[in-house]
Structure formats: structure tokens, C-alpha cells
């Protein structure tokens, strides 16, 4: 049997399995027979609270779009879907089961795991009882998790699988209030003590039995939903904390519902849209995109099969509304670049030709500007030969709106996607403001700004350059942390973002750096580390950069190479290496990175504010910065202070002029074991460019 025919056979099998699964998912619904009458009899007062809370919106959606898909998940290789009505049934049974286990209004429930439909349902089930869900980052180790669970006083924990259950069980001595644990995936948990541990299904079964025994319960449940007020706390989201301990942000239904509705109206999102839920459940972005906006607009949220299959699942679903941090777009572009370098000559020629057309005219066409007729025709052909297939490959064929935020995105990367015809936009937001602070509107998109204020948001710039805003999404307060609340939120409701920025002439906000990170060199010139780091990170070969220079003689930088890009480059250039460490220290790699640094220096020399902060010395780190070692946050942001403590000797070596430095670093493996990494790291000296004005003057002389 040849490969092609085998493929067809298996596709046919997959299709046949889909048919079979469809028959199977037709489940009996008699136990919910009493529900519709209840809904009708109580409809007048249920409707009054309906679209102000998520449980209320759930009831509305189940009535408004009973047969539209609300959620999908790929399981055993097949997409399974749940309609709004089915989701309501699932949540109702689970909520009644939870209340039967003893969950009361005001309790806190930790929700730990990746993007699974049942965990999203848990959030709303918990809310429907007046309790408060606390999503927790699933990849945090037990030591990090205990702070959140303890601080939030959780009474219940809903875990995805054995891994998360084990973590919570290992902490139970420190969590006296924890009464019950519920898990979704049974594997490996069969032999555990089940006195306080429950299967998700068994809790639902409990609810189902109660509902069958007493039809009034369903009515009571709806009454408790109707009793929820829009000023109630909807969720506690812990910020990942670049500095210090995480803070619990209390967001109300009003914060989230109003913000979500505004965003839906701004982009015209409705029940026919599709999105992919693959970012951490505990992150405010996922909470808003995959839950709040879905419940308000009624669109379908798709959960991937596993984190490794996201790219394939995205291709299959082809979402219409998509969010990704810049890193994802960067990685995708790196993969495309690498693949095109390996492609045959004719393909590469065609790709290069049409990409040149796209660079010239693609963005203009997307923005609705005028373009030469010949380019329009070429662009049309390019859509057929290159852009269309490329977007299809990335799963972007149907995207109407796509956001990126969290970090600055490289202008080249941004333009690349826009020139393909992908409506990629930047936004600026915060957990404390329910995400949306600024959004770029269609037709006014710039690579280096984050756009004008979003609907109902007011922004002003403080005298020290810090950005302040006021919006309906501004959080209630930090949980059990009055001091931090006072520092962040002024009496009259203005929020301190902690970011330094300014408005451009067009009225778009431009963010430079964290306000407290902006420092000064000894020479007095301004030093904005993030600004410099981002310029370097825009090179595909560079993954991470940490720049130093505050109260120092000059600016210096640690650089992390990108193993995929540099590895491929090494392969094509016959450079042998056995490990990351060896590749990072290779003289040819140093030479390449040196040319990148040199180009950044040239760029900086052209900017009057930044030209003093050119990079004079740099080194390539021997290991990747890693969240397990505490060097990055769980959202992959650099922890500056921690790194400067950990690599203190290397920083000293920058400024004492030594050409290289030996360092021992402790590394933590995924299971918590420790190891030691040793290396002698070379430090490269750069020649700074004269300031642009000097060049002009010299030329004039």
C-alpha cells in the first residue's frame, strides 16, 4: 500500500468515525424535561438580570441560540461540539452537584488546568452559585501555586488531571479550608483516596439525581442566578507578577460584561464567529476572549486537542477571531522562513517575487489606500499562488480580526502578516482594566503604536510620562492588599499603568517601557532597556535580550539565541554543535550576532533621545532563560532584578573590561531536581556610532 492511498483510507476512516460519533452524542435529555417550563414560568424576573452576569448570559444564550455551537473540543482525533443548550445542561448539573457537595455563595474555587471545556463550564457553574472562581496558572510548580491557593482561601479545587491533583494534594496541609477536589481526567487517579476527591462526571451525576428527585431545584438555581448583581465579584485573576508576589485582581460582572460588549461592538463580533482557546486559563486575555466575549456575543470557542497540536487544530478550525502574543507570530514567521529556505528553487523564486509585491502594496490594499493597477493584479495573483495557501497553512483563512499584545511586535513581523491581508492589530491592556485600554481601529494601523483609547476609555499622561486611564473595566480592588490598591488606583478612579508612553500627533498611544525601568546612564542620556531589547529581539536569530545600563557608564546586553533559527542557519553553514551551550559560544554565531548588534547601534544613533544608549559590550548566554529557573515569568517576560542578581558576576565583567568570564549556574529541571551548568563566556566589545547630528556636522565641514 503506498503512502498516498493509505492517507485516503485513513481520512475516510476519520470521516466514518465522525458519523458514528454524531450518532453517539445524541444523548437522552429526559432528565432536563422540566427545565423549559421552569424557564418560562420564571422568565420575567430571570430576564431582568439576564445579560449582566455570565450565568445569566448562559440562560439567555441557551434560549436565543439553543442549537448553535458554543464550544468544541478535539477528542480522540475528532471535533466534538456542544450547543448552548447542551452547555447549559452540563453547567446546571455540575452546579447542582457542587452545591450538593457543600459549595456556598462567597466560597472561592481554584480552577487549575489547560483549556478544557469542562474547566470553562466550571467557572460559570461556580459563578451561578454566587461563589468566586480563581483560575490558576497550570504550569506553576506547587511552591508557586500555594501562595495563590492560600491567599484566595480556596474551599474547592477543580483540577484538570493527576498532575494538578498531585500538586494540590501536596499542599493540603497548608490549605485548611480546602474541602473537596474535583478532577476532569481520571487517568492515574483510580487508586487515590476518593473521600474528598471527585470525578467531574460523578459530581454531575449527583446534580442530575438531585434534579430528577426534586424539580424545584432547577427553579431555585435560576433564582440564585437572577439574584446575582452586576456589582458582584465575577472572578479573581492573579497577575503573574514580574515583581514580587502575585496580586489577586477582583473583577466584577460589570467590568467584564461592559468591556466585552464594547469590544464586540467595536469589531462587530457576533454568534457566527469562531475562536481558539489555547492561552493560559488564568490569564485575563483568555478569560475575556474565550469566556466573556463568547458569552456576550454568543460565538463558539474551540479547545485544541493538546498544546502541541494547536497549529494543526487552528488550521482545521480556521478561527475568525484570533489572539496571539507577538511570540507566536514570530515563531510562525521563523518556521515559514526556515521552510522556505529549504524549499526548491522555483517555489522560493515565486515566494520571493510575490512577497516583494505584498511588501510594496499589500498593506496599502488592506488599509484601503490607492495602489497602482498593475500591483493590484499582481496582488490578486499572489493571493492565489502564495498568500492564500500561506494563510491557509497557518489557519488564518477566515480571520476577520486578529490581535497581538503583551509585548511590542517587530515592525517587520507586523507588516509581514498585514501585507498578506491578515487584519492584525495591536492593543494595549491590563488585567486591572479587563484587558482593553487601547485598540487600533481598522484603517489606522501602525506598527509602532498601540492605537487610540478603546470605547469608554479615557487616557492621560502624567507629568513623569506614566500612562493613566479610566474605564468601565477598571477593577474593584486587589484581594487582601489595600496598600497595592491605593498605589494603583487613585481616589477618583484613575489607574496607574506603570508604563511610560506618549501620544503621537495622530492621537495614538506609544509605549516606551515600564516607567520604573526607564533609567539614566552616568552620562545623563536616557536608557529605556525594553526599547533596546525589542530592537534586538526583532531579529529572528535572537530570542531574548536583557539590557543593562542604569547608573552605569554605558549600555551592555545579555543575548539568548533562538535555537530553531540559529540551528537551521548552522546546519546550512556546516557548523557542527552538540548542545545549546556549544552553539551559543561558537565564534561564527558571535560574528552573526555582532552584526545584528551593530545594526541596532546604527539605528539608535539616528534617534536623538536614544543615541547615547548604544550597546558597547554584549555576551551570549550559555543557557536559555527559563521560567522554571525563575528567570522569566509564567507569561515569558524577563524578570530583570532576578537576572541581575543571578548573573551579577557577568554584569561586573561588562564594566571591569574583562574579555571573558567563567560562571556556574544552577538550573532546575522540570521535575524540580537541580543541576549545575558551567561555562566561560566571551564578552564582545562594540564600536558605537557617532550621533546622527555629529555625522551631519562632519559632512558639512
Amino acid at each position: 500500500m503506498n503512502i498516498a492511498s493509505a492517507k485516503d483510507r485513513f481520512n475516510a476512516v476519520a470521516r466514518a468515525v465522525v458519523r458514528k460519533e454524531k450518532e453517539k452524542t445524541e444523548r437522552p435529555k429526559n432528565w432536563s424535561a422540566g427545565r423549559d417550563e421552569d424557564a418560562m414560568s420564571g422568565s420575567t424576573h430571570v430576564d431582568s438580570a439576564n445579560d449582566e452576569t455570565f450565568p445569566g448570559l448562559l440562560l439567555r444564550n441557551a434560549k436565543q441560540w439553543p442549537d448553535r455551537p458554543a464550544m468544541r473540543e478535539k477528542d480522540l482525533g475528532i471535533w466534538q461540539s456542544w450547543t448552548w443548550q447542551e452547555v447549559e445542561d452540563e453547567i446546571r448539573r455540575f452546579a447542582i452537584g457542587l452545591s450538593n457537595l457543600g459549595l456556598k455563595a462567597g466560597d472561592a474555587v481554584a480552577i487549575i488546568g489547560s483549556n478544557r471545556p469542562r474547566l470553562y463550564w466550571s467557572i460559570v457553574a461556580v459563578q451561578s452559585l454566587g461563589a468566586i472562581p480563581v483560575p490558576v496558572y497550570a504550569d506553576s510548580v506547587a511552591k508557586e501555586m500555594v501562595f495563590v491557593l492560600e491567599h484566595a482561601d480556596v474551599n474547592f479545587a477543580i483540577c484538570e488531571d493527576q498532575e494538578q491533583v498531585d500538586k494540590v494534594l501536596s499542599l493540603q496541609d497548608q490549605l485548611p479550608k480546602l474541602a473537596h477536589l474535583i478532577y476532569d481526567e481520571e487517568r492515574g487517579l483510580r487508586d487515590y483516596d476518593h473521600s474528598r476527591l471527585h470525578n467531574f462526571e460523578s459530581v454531575q451525576l449527583r446534580g442530575q439525581e438531585r434534579l430528577a428527585a426534586d424539580p424545584a431545584i432547577s427553579k431555585e438555581w435560576q433564582k440564585s442566578i437572577a439574584g446575582l448583581k452586576s456589582s458582584d465579584v465575577a472572578v479573581i485573576l492573579y497577575t503573574s507578577g514580574t515583581t514580587g508576589k502575585p496580586k489577586g485582581v477582583l473583577l466584577t460582572y460589570e467590568n467584564l460584561v461592559v468591556t466585552a460588549k464594547n469590544a464586540n461592538a467595536f469589531e462587530g463580533l457576533n454568534e457566527r464567529d469562531e475562536t481558539l482557546a489555547y492561552l493560559p486559563l488564568a490569564w485575563v486575555g483568555d478569560h475575556v476572549f474565550s469566556l466573556c466575549q463568547s458569552y456576550t456575543a454568543g460565538y463558539c470557542v474551540n479547545c485544541p486537542e493538546s498544546l502541541e497540536t494547536v497549529a494543526e487544530d487552528r488550521r482545521e478550525i480556521a478561527p475568525t477571531y484570533f489572539f496571539a502574543p507577538p511570540r507566536v507570530f514570530e515563531d510562525m514567521l521563523t518556521t515559514i522562513t526556515v521552510d522556505m529556505e529549504d524549499a526548491g528553487r522555483p517555489k522560493r523564486k515565486m515566494f520571493d517575487f510575490f512577497m516583494a509585491v505584498a511588501r510594496r502594496s499589500g498593506e496599502k490594499i488592506l488599509n484601503g489606500d490607492s495602489v497602482a493597477f498593475s500591483d493590484r493584479i499582481l496582488y490578486f495573483l499572489g493571493e492565489y499562488f502564495v498568500y492564500g495557501p500561506l494563510k491557509n497553512h497557518m489557519g488564518f483563512s477566515r480571520v476577520r480580526v486578529s490581535y497581538t499584545a503583551g509585548e511590542a511586535i517587530g515592525p517587520e513581523i507586523f507588516s509581514f502578516y498585514r501585507s498578506l491581508g491578515l487584519n492584525l492589530k495591536q492593543l494595549y491592556g491590563q488585567t486591572e482594566g479587563s484587558v482593553f485600554v487601547t485598540i487600533q481601529p481598522d484603517g489606522a494601523i501602525r506598527a509602532d503604536t498601540v492605537g487610540p483609547p478603546a470605547t469608554d476609555v479615557e487616557i492621560r499622561i502624567a507629568d513623569d510620562g506614566e500612562v493613566l486611564y479610566k474605564s468601565p473595566g477598571v477593577f474593584l480592588r486587589y484581594f487582601k492588599n489595600e496598600e497595592a490598591t491605593r498605589e494603583t488606583k487613585t481616589e477618583d478612579g484613575w489607574m496607574h499603568t506603570g508604563d511610560a508612553g506618549f501620544f503621537t500627533d495622530e492621537g495614538h498611544l506609544k509605549i516606551i517601557d515600564r516607567a520604573k525601568d526607564v533609567g539614566k546612564l552616568n552620562s545623563g542620556s536616557m536608557f529605556a532597556p525594553k526599547y533596546i531589547e525589542n530592537k534586538l529581539k526583532f531579529f529572528p536569530n535572537i530570542k531574548e535580550v536583557v539590557a543593562f545600563g542604569h547608573e552605569k557608564e554605558f549600555c551592555a546586553a545579555f543575548i539568548n539565541i533562538d535555537l530553531v533559527a540559529v540551528g537551521n542557519w548552522a546546519e546550512r553553514n556546516n557548523i557542527a554543535y552538540a548542545s545549546y551551550q556549544e552553539l551559543a559560544a561558537h565564534p561564527e554565531v558571535y560574528k552573526m550576532i555582532e552584526s545584528h548588534v551593530d545594526q541596532v547601534n546604527r539605528d539608535l544613533s539616528n534617534e536623538s533621545m536614544m543615541s547615547g544608549a548604544q550597546i558597547q559590550r554584549f555576551l551570549i548566554l550559555h543557557k536559555e532563560l527559563d521560567a522554571d529557573d525563575g528567570e522569566l515569568t509564567r507569561t515569558q517576560k524577563v524578570r530583570r532584578t532576578f537576572i541581575s542578581d543571578r548573573y551579577g558576576p557577568l554584569i561586573d565583567a561588562f564594566y571591569d573590561g574583562s574579555p571573558s568570564k567563567h560562571i556556574r549556574t544552577e538550573v532546575t529541571f522540570e521535575d524540580g531536581r537541580k543541576g549545575i551548568l558551567e561555562a566561560t563566556i566571551e564578552i564582545r566589545q562594540m564600536k558605537p556610532y557617532p550621533e546622527a547630528s555629529d555625522v551631519v556636522r562632519e559632512a558639512a565641514e
Partner: protein, 276 residues
Amino acid sequence: MNAPTKPGDIKNSGDSTVLDAGDVLLNIENVSLRFGGVKAVSDISFNVLKGEIRAIIGPNGAGKTSMLNVINGFYRPQEGKITFRGKVRRSMKPHQAVGQGIARTFQNVALFKGMSTLDNIMAGRATRMTSNIFLQMIWHGPAMREEIDHRQKVEEIIDFLEIQHIRRTPVGRLPYGLQKRVELARALAMEPDLLLLDEPMAGMNLEEKEDMSRFILDVNQQYGTTIALIEHDMGVVMDLSDRVVVLDYGRKIADGLPEEVQKNQEVIDAYLGVPH
């Protein structure tokens, strides 16, 4: 979702004796195997109980892999008696071993390199295909229904071993650790009573070893599969196995609980060598 297969569900074409956990599944009595003058295995007796994880350890050339080959019928011992599920075995071919419920993985991964992960695992179901080969070729009627059932089973195994992302990747392109996992998946697809693993962790890094250990324990717990494994990593053997048998120069030198074996002087000597 379908309930995972329990040990009792296994339909064996061989015999239908139902064993409880703790009963002797496989008994080896005084087995000797010679290749000409070379004695690979001499006079070895041990047993494997239903539901346990049994480790076979020993220095290089101790006869571990030969022992495994004897168990799955690849070699026929000159002397001795092998009883599987209470039935004495006379002579057997490896495919008959599969029919009886014995599956194995190999020390050097033995997958079909050009085929995808999915196809490789489906190949593990081949012995369970009952429909006519001609119907299978035209993929019609009962053959189609049967393949769909098999595919369902295979998808459960893919989910169990967390290899969804490589479902369609040709296995030759996969890293070694994943190939080992695919091989385990293929062995599991046979729904064996006894799973023989020949150095499942060889050449793996710490993380891959931990994953593999977890999968072996999960297979044992969830599917109730009895496992006999050869392994060199002592940490893994001591953590995973219920009982250990130690071979040296084709002889059995120790047999017992991991702690006992670890303290046995003869075992220590065999591993570290004795001054002469």
C-alpha cells in the same frame, strides 16, 4: 467516551482462562538455551504474576534479551518448560505469542520508519482484524466497520500516551524518545496480557525517562497489563518494579523484592565486578 479496556475485556483467541491479580501468569521452569556451544541461558526458573511489573536485570551479555526472546517464542529453548495462562507451551512462533496475548517492544526501535505514527499503531491491530482480506482491500461492509472500531481503540491509545501531535508524522522523522513511545503504543494496540519491554528507557534523557515511567505505571494501573521489562537504569527499576530477577552469565543469581535484590552481595559483585 468509552470506558478503558479492563483486563477482563481482552478477547483472546488462545484460551479463555480468567486469572485474578496475583495468580501466576507465566511460569518458567529450568529453561536452558544454547547456540551451538554458547550457553545463553542455563537452567533458569522464575514466574510472572498477573498484574505485576517484573524487572529482569543483569550486566551486559547476561542473557536478558535471550530470555525475552524465549518468552515470546522467537527462540525455542532446548530444555525446560514454559507455562502461560496455565497452559504448557511446546513450540510457538512469535505471531502465535501475540495471539496468546504477549506483545513486546525492542531494544533498537523496530517501527516502520516510512509510515506515520497512526499507521504504525494501526499495524498493531492487524492480528485482531477478523474480516476477509479481500473485503479489507476494497474497504467495504464489515471490513469498514471493523476498521472504524480499531481506529477508535488506536485513538484512545494515542490519547493515553499523549502523542496526538505526531499522529500523521512519519516515525522516521521523530526523535528517539518519541519513537520509543510509538513503539509502546503499537504494543498496547495488541491489548496484550503480558507486555515485554526491552530497555524502554535506553538512550533517553531524564525528562523522557520520567514520562516513560509514568506511562508504564499508568498502563499497568489502568489497563491492568502485566509487564516484564529489561532495564539498566537502577533508579527506574527500583522505583517501578514489584519484583526483580537478576541474571548473570545466563544464570539466575537473585530473585525478589527490589530492596532485597539491591542488598544481595552476589548482585553487587556481578555489577561492580570482584577482584580476583
